[in-house]
Symmetry: C5
Subunit: 351 residues, 5 copies
């Protein structure tokens, strides 16, 4: 939830309004047009004749980095005949992952995740796909290097991506995103393990807050990963002719990866809540230990102090005070009591 989502209240539906935090200075639009034999790359700008790219026979992949230029979005939407609700969602960067079939094109939104090397937080950006018969539009909030792998495959014609349509290209990109989840989760896993080893010996609320920060991150991860099950299985089983039979097998595989991600997230969640349990229990243990020390000290010294108090009394008739070995005897009794107590606590494993 961001302030901007609330600011949108009152605008008519389909109004393209950028919601989120602007993260790139300048919007960049790149085009890769390819078929099995040829490939061409160039940059595009707002004044482009967008309609043309929607209708040429070769596959056109247009990637837009930065979604805060609503005018650009409006023009692209008009050129590709895309419903304004879709364009609105693209600019509104707080979508849940979802798949919508608009007949002529599929609209799919998911979230790229990566770790900010500076702040150690998990960042996420919304990635939108519009899959048409001969084109693929992708919209991302910031430049990322995850798509570069696919660009390389296109350029070098590695794998099957050049010989397939925009549905396969979209699949390849989504696969790259999901693969990247594993990179992020691995790093989280490392932090969880560090935490787990510290939780037994450590103390302080600092640790607790770390646990809860991690928990929030896992919940965030989960929220972005769970709906993917539905999205990918929806696409696998979709009746849209835009998804070809060959690609469906790959989508099923992608679905499996999403399920594995969910599994891994759930496991992390369990591990973390186990760590929390241990934390709370170790609090109790430390309290027990402190109590034991206190009890032992009090139990040993209270009787001794009492005895010393006895012979500090000023009664005139206290025969022991005049005995020859009175003082030594007092010491003897006190040492006996002290040692006896100590032994008793040793036997009870309190010391």
């Amino acid at each position: 939830m961001t302030a901007s989502a609330a600011q949108k209240a009152g605008l008519p539906p389909g109004t393209i309004v950028f919601v989120g935090r602007q993260r790139v200075e300048k919007i960049a639009v790149s085009l890769i047009e390819y078929d099995a034999e040829h490939i061409a790359e160039r940059g595009l700008d707002v004044s482009e004749n967008w309609r043309e790219w929607a209708t040429r026979p070769a596959v056109a992949w247009i990637n837009v980095t930065g979604v805060h230029d609503t005018e650009l979005l409006r023009r692209i939407g008009d050129g590709f005949h895309i419903h304004h609700l879709v364009m609105e969602d693209i600019a509104h960067t707080v979508q849940r992952p979802k798949l919508e079939d608009y007949g002529d094109y599929l609209y799919l939104v998911m979230r790229m995740m990566y770790r900010d090397p500076k702040s150690e937080n998990i960042l996420a950006e919304q990635i939108s796909f519009v899959v048409g018969a001969t084109y693929l539009l992708t919209f991302q909030e910031i430049e990322g290097d995850v798509f570069d792998v696919i660009r390389d495959r296109l350029r070098t014609a590695k794998g099957r991506v050049r010989s397939q349509g925009p549905d396969y290209l979209a699949y390849a990109l989504m696969d790259a995103i999901v693969d990247n989840y594993f990179v992020v989760m691995e790093e989280m896993n490392d932090r969880i393990e560090t935490l787990q080893s510290r939780v037994v010996v450590g103390n302080g609320l600092d640790l607790l807050e770390r646990i809860h920060r991690l928990k929030r991150e896992i919940v965030f991860m989960r929220k972005n990963v769970w709906p993917l099950r539905e999205v990918f299985s929806g696409m696998t089983k979709s009746e849209s002719p835009l998804v070809t039979g060959g690609t469906r097998v790959y989508l099923r595989d992608l679905y499996e990866h999403a399920v594995q991600t969910i599994d891994a997230v759930e496991t992390m969640r369990d591990t973390l809540s186990g760590a929390l349990d241990i934390y709370v229990s170790s609090q109790g243990n430390r309290m027990n230990e402190t109590m034991r020390v206190l009890t032992v000290i009090a139990t040993i010294f209270m009787p001794l102090t009492f005895m010393a108090g006895i012979y500090g009394m000023n009664f005139e008739l206290m025969p022991e005070l005049r005995w020859r070995y009175g003082y030594a005897g007092a010491w003897a009794v006190m040492l006996t009591v002290g040692l006896g107590m100590t032994l008793y606590f040793k036997r009870r494993k309190w010391l």
Copy 2:
């Protein structure tokens, strides 16, 4: 649950009885009649010929503010041929959000939410929609400014609302209500964050009660938002001819917004229960700290007091008492013991 709901026990079904708290002095009924070209506005009163408005070709939007005038409701119900159970529900302001298809019209009820600027509580009012072929009836408990945006759009013919039927108008109003949820939730989110930062350092049951008040508000929110999923998806997939194909796309979008709201509510709930965990743990931590202080104090001073007690005994034969440096020696031993203890606790991180 309000007292009034119970007072209704025993009345025949379909009896229109106002249940709730009356919140406006005087009931106001406004009419906006429009088509793509024209628009007219006027106020209505009880003695209106209601039947007429149900049958004219242009779209008639009748908005009733205040539902405690059962006579008015009865007349409207008769005029528009609305089932008396629907009229009963409209006056009974404790409905869960729901959608009912009566063939000639759809009955839909949901809850508007806003924050009371004075009491800081979340208030809610029940908003009922009766969507006919050429008319839309809306019933609200208090005047609100959320609908004004739509009125403006109607007047200025902004957006597509003027060229569409009552189903789209209903959608636009519901969209405005859901958008407003985000405004309320943002404010709640701020309060949760304030709480979260206070929970680590704070103490006292006051904090706990604040957590639980927020929790109740979230539960209340949740109860009003959850059923909307079903309501909107039911309307999207409804076979009623009253919902036109063009509006369905917008309803699907509205459904998505409802799901986002639910998501946000769930996230708030998780955050809050995390705050509760931290609160409980910080209680334990504070206890641990207190215990530690007590133990350290007792462990340092009990042996010292014991030693002082020893040399306060009145035995006649206590050679140390006559030693030249007896007193200084005693101090030396006591300081050694005291410092030793202190160092020991320092090393154990108890100090």
Copy 3:
């Protein structure tokens, strides 16, 4: 679970055995026969020709108060050709709410709930409905005034009940029962709120037991209300010709009421478990407070007592003892330490 349910073990199925606690001295059977124009009332007894009432054209409502007379039940069952398993269930007053379609008649069982004014407990009685084409049989365990409202409506021909068949009559009775749930729940709600305000300041296990007694009552309520969803929706969607189209709309409304009841029960459950949380936390708080007092006392007096002990030692050479302002100086030091400690704890908010 009652002892009697176990005592039935070993009997052949369909044996009518009264299970429960007998609550009326004498069984009363009343008949109301009506159609749109006429209405007649009389009492019936065991030796009645029951078959006759099953076959007359006017609607016959036979209400039996007390189900421990198995002979009566057997005769009624025979007269109306009702399956002996149904008659067995009627006498076995520990049924879950359920609906069974036997073709010629529907069997429906639910539970009336009311608060015992003496014991403050929630009581419940089983109410069975057998809905035939021209008759309605109802069986209740004790006399109740909830049905009187419907009787009055029949007599005065208020509402639509006189012009409808036994299905509508059954609906009206069930509606009266569900309406009464709200009365009971309101009273529970009051008690929960009282508890909630006491839980912050209160202590003792007494409070905890009250919470748990209320919890048990809510669970009991819940168990009787949850299945009603299924029962009423089953009846609404039933293909039985015994339920007429006109009544179905009312049943859908009744279903909504049941869902509202469930909602209210769930809310009470949440509130109560929140009260439990606060109770447990306030226990922890009280312990913290006690600990703090103890620690403060010990920390202030232990050093002081130690100092007093020092000058209580009997060394011959203790120069301070002979100083002119020795005693005053000791007091000064001790007061300084004591006040210093007190200020320190004030600053740490321990006092």
Copy 4:
């Protein structure tokens, strides 16, 4: 899970291996053959011509007590043409309740439960039913008297059992088993109530272990009762011609009983977990009480001891020591402080 289940690893499927604990010395096989007019009883042994019993027109009920004789099971299986997987399951006494339709016969397994009068534990034995067109095979692990009731009904032709096929007989036996659950549960309920009343005053881990033992028993009960829902509803709705229409009504009733059992088990579980809550809270209460006593004692005596220490100092110039009423005054001050403290704690309800 028993050791034996693991020992089976590596054997080919369908190998009949006894898994469980042998509980009868000698296997007994009894036959009751009956139709509406005749009934005959005799014992059978291994060398019987089993095929014959499968094909005679009258209903043959063969009851086998003890399932560790794999040779006998093999022969019966061959004679009645029963799949070896079924025979394997019969000997493998750790089955979950289930229903399997093999076309010519139904295989049904459930668990009889009773309380061991000696050990107070709940015992269970596996009961298998093979329902054919003209025969019913039942396999139990130990002799039980639950079936005797049905035998009596058969002999005396009481109820409808003699006039019905093996499906009704199977129903009657299963009904007897389910009825017996109520007997067991009643006894458990008594123990839970005893526990509940002890939990408030009691202490010690002994109580906790009792709670957990009961919990395990409830979980065990639950595991054996839950699948019955599915089993009985599966049989009610089964398309097998082996289940006649008349019997289905009874099976639906049986299903209701199973649901009631589940309900009762769930209620017991809730009650028990409430008892656990109270136990934990009463632990906290007792700690609070102990702490309070300690704090009160320390707070009263520490200042007093300090004062006594003051006047035990040996300063030469301590004017109070020479006052006439010095000693009495000291007592007065100390009593005042002590009483003041006591009153203060009384007012704070700590005493």
Copy 5:
């Protein structure tokens, strides 16, 4: 989640990359070719003509131990016309159990589990099955003796395995794997029981960590066993002609075993969480006990020390000091108080 899964990010789908830990030095490929009359065994190597084995009439079972040789996997995949996504999954040893129908063959993956005798940990290896019309390919990560039983059955023609197709063979192998789960679980059960008996008397975080290690193992077990329900029921109900009717009965049985495993895992989980409860409660009990000892000691000795302090005061006028039995009287009072306290605590069961 392993590092390797993340390293795969960026590679085109269908790239066979070994993911996991290499566990065998050298990959071994064995072939068993059989029909009802003949059986032949031999080893295979990479350069084999794999296509041949896919097309011969007899059943060919090829078992590959070690999946890190991607070249071998590629060749096998090509020879048997297996989709490269399947081959990728085989090498990627972090799959969830799943079943995929590729028309000409079924791909099934599950996990073999066994206990490492050295480290006491549960180990798991991924086992992949490719079931064709006349061949079965199995891929395991390490040599295991579980399959030897089936090899023996094949060689000795014991059971029905020789007369059936590859589907039955696959079933037999899967059955052997599931049977082995019971062996592992039995061992876990033993450890849980040991833990349970130690938890009442034991202390220390060591025990808590053992509980959590076991919990993690159970969660791991659960994760591998839960999906088997779906896998086996999917195979039972599959419409693939590769699964013959005769085998389906066995698969249903296997499904039952999987459900039993799940049941057992859930029971272990419950038992363990019960043990955790007892652990936490016994922590509380120990704290209570310590507190009680401390309180008793303090309550007995503080008043005594105070009294000794009184008569240690140096007032000139303290008449008791000069009484003849003053000292004895002081002792008498102190003993009385001490014994009184002790008796009081005895009566309150604090001692």
